[in-house]
């Protein structure tokens, strides 16, 4: 599951993106993490341990499911869904937290700090902390605590301490700020399990490598099923962890078109969105040089999306690079379109996707219509929608569910 180290990756850069823009106090911890990670991935017993938990605890591998009814309805490409929603805890997030928790144990760290938006990464982190007997603190924006009450309780049930962050806009970016402050203050005994392909080097690489299992399995499964690689792959992008995990094993396959779907919120033109590629500028946030939503003074702007998991004003450095070189095409889907995607998949396939994944479903559906029935399209179904049912009900109004 681990991969090549190109020149760029060794110094933590993807083209001009990435880097390590953090307080000096954290530099030693980042170097320690980098060293421990290199050491771990060259140790076959570590890889075996990660794979053991992914199989017997998380339930991997996840199916690559042919969505026959959806395909028929749309009348275009054959649509396959990578079922990351079937993982333990309901999303792809646990692929990364299993790996990072085992890494933390290996480094002798007893405490874990994490940020969470929707709560999926927080739950996945609290879960592995329970599993591996690590103390767990999760920072979550006040607004997200309100939106995702049940996930807060889930984390608490799992033994984590959830700290509500009322600074700034009280959302994911502010939770990351607090998690970084906590890490600076407790750096010697604490590992920060960052949840997306973001942050200072080596986090974007570590998160990508632990999420690559999505793309590696997909590649093998699609060849087994149809005897060839897909023509196109679609994944949603917030910070970008499920997407980078899905895309990375296909980056060199130039005939496989890759599409990243950002959260368009109320529409890019309204300014109320979370599409950092479409509406952002290059800059530095949370340790990395990447595309960021910011104003003319370099102040970071709030992101807006119905999906808490995509509600982040930046997009990870490797995505920024893949956009820059034109390898991945980034596009966006509005809140309203994501809600359509969610209902479509629920009614045609009996699968309620997470609102995040519903962005990919909607774009994937539109793309499939333009493709021929001989062509193959894979959509990464990054998580299940149980957590979003309340939000969706509020957004649709009960009467609109026809």
């Amino acid at each position: 599951m681990m991969v090549n180290t190109t020149e760029e990756q060794r110094i933590g850069r993807y083209g001009r993106f990435g880097g390590q823009y953090v307080p000096e106090t954290l530099m030693t911890a980042l170097k320690e993490l980098e060293g421990a990670y290199e050491d771990a991935i060259s140790d076959s017993s570590f890889i075996e341990e990660v794979n053991y938990y992914l199989k017997d605890y998380v339930g991997r591998e996840t199916p690559l499911y042919f969505a026959e009814r959806l395909t028929k309805e749309l009348g275009g490409a054959q649509i396959y869904l990578k079922r990351e929603d079937l993982n333990h805890t309901g999303a792809h997030k646990i692929n990364n937290t299993i790996g990072q928790a085992l890494l933390a144990k290996r480094m002798g760290k007893k405490k874990i700090v994490a940020e969470t938006g929707a709560g999926q990464h927080g739950v996945a982190t609290a879960t592995v902390c329970a599993l591996f007997d690590l103390e767990c603190v999760v920072f979550m924006g006040k607004e997200d605590v309100r939106r995702q009450e049940l996930n807060v309780f889930r984390m608490e049930l799992l033994g984590a301490k959830v700290v509500s962050v009322d600074k700034g806009s009280g959302t994911l970016k502010d939770a990351v700020n607090e998690a970084l402050r906590y890490w600076v203050s407790n750096v010697e005994e604490t590992h920060y399990i960052l949840g997306s392909a973001l942050g200072p080097h080596p986090f974007p690489r570590i998160v990508r490598d632990f999420q690559r299992v999505i793309g590696v399995e997909t590649r093998r499964q699609i060849v087994e099923k149809v005897g060839k690689l897909p023509d196109a792959i679609v994944a949603c992008v917030g910070g970008g962890s499920n997407a980078i995990g899905m895309f990375h094993p296909f980056v060199e396959d130039k005939d496989v078109a890759l599409y990243g779907v950002e959260a368009g919120g109320s529409g890019i033109s309204t300014g109320l969105h979370a599409a950092a590629v479409a509406g952002g500028k290059e800059g530095v946030l949370h340790g990395a040089y990447m595309y960021i939503l910011q104003d003319d003074n370099g102040f970071i702007q709030e992101a807006h999306s119905i999906s808490a998991g995509l509600d982040y004003p930046g997009v990870g450095p490797e995505h920024s690079y893949l956009h820059d070189i034109g390898r991945v095409k980034y596009t966006s889907v509005t809140d309203a379109e994501a809600l359509e995607g969610l209902q479509l998949l629920s009614k045609r396939e009996g699968i309620i996707p997470a609102l995040e994944s519903a962005h990919a479903i909607h774009f994937g559906g539109e793309l499939a219509k333009k493709m021929s029935p001989e062509e193959i399209l894979v959509i990464c179904l990054s998580g299940r929608g149980d957590k979003d049912v309340q939000t969706v009900r509020d957004a649709l109004g009960v009467n609109n569910i026809g």
Partner: protein, 260 residues
């Protein structure tokens, strides 16, 4: 160009047997119209240099006091551009060195070259960027190369000796030695390995070493001053300005003098 303005100011204070005292204040807290009176007050009160905080939306290295001051400044509409405009009105009256403390993104957004030119024009003596470790300083060093604006580096308690050597080698103005593992703000106590840390730092550094983060009382100014060439006091000055408690500020500054 040699970076002498800030260095000379500190060394001349040290030459008199006093410790350098750098006061931090948040520009725009209380309104940008108060910037001049606050800077001139600190200058009159005898500070060695003034660290001028530029507010930022996501100040990850700052504790609650400076975060709140930053939020108040942002609510007043304070930006780097407006701070530079305001300074232009009265910079000729400022005789103590001014050092900007700013996160990196506002500088990137402003343009590093433009920032360097603006600093030079206003006689700014230094800049501190808390989210810019030595590995990432190439571009900013380059932009500042032809100015007398020092890029002041931070050294932390967690920096191992080889890093400290690397940081001090390229350091300009002074070394900002962080006294705690943590963010800015008031603290009651410090770790017990500080003495050794500072003696190592002084040995490695050709420029003065100033202690900062968590220094908030005249007693701490004296104690930390004894270990270093001077101190940087932030949160308690920010809070005192906010409460309009000018006596508290003069008391802190006096504690750095040889005789009180």
């Amino acid at each position: 160009m040699a970076k002498v303005k800030l260095l000379n100011a500190i060394q001349s204070v040290n030459a008199q047997g006093d410790k350098a005292f750098v006061a931090y204040m948040m520009a725009g807290d209380g309104g940008l119209e108060t910037l001049k009176s606050k800077i001139l007050f600190l200058q009159e009160a005898g500070v060695t240099a003034i660290e001028l905080g530029i507010p930022f939306s996501d100040p990850v290295a700052d504790g609650p006091t400076i975060q709140l001051a930053g939020e108040r400044a942002l609510a007043n509409g304070t930006t780097l551009r407006l701070i530079l405009q305001e300074l232009e009105i009265f910079y000729k009256e400022v005789t103590v060195p001014l050092v900007f403390m700013t996160y990196y993104n506002p500088l990137l957004s402003f343009g590093l070259e433009q920032f360097a030119q603006a600093c030079e024009k206003l006689g700014i003596a230094g800049v501190i960027v808390p989210d810019l470790p030595v590995e990432e300083t190439v571009e900013l060093h380059k932009a500042l190369a032809h100015t007398d604006v020092a890029l002041v580096p931070l050294v932390s308690l967690t920096s191992p000796p080889d890093r400290v050597a690397k940081i001090t080698a390229s350091g300009e103005g002074f070394i900002y030695a962080v006294t705690v593992n943590g963010i800015t703000g008031v603290r009651n106590g410090f770790g017990d390995q500080l003495e050794q840390h500072f003696s190592q730092l002084s040995e490695l550094s050709n420029i003065p070493v100033l202690a900062g983060f968590g220094i908030s009382t005249p007693e701490q100014v004296k104690n930390m001053g004894a270990l270093a060439d001077g101190v940087i006091v932030g949160s308690s000055i920010v809070e005192a300005f906010h409460q309009n408690d000018m006596e508290k500020i003069t008391g802190l500054i006096q504690a750095a003098k040889k005789r009180v």
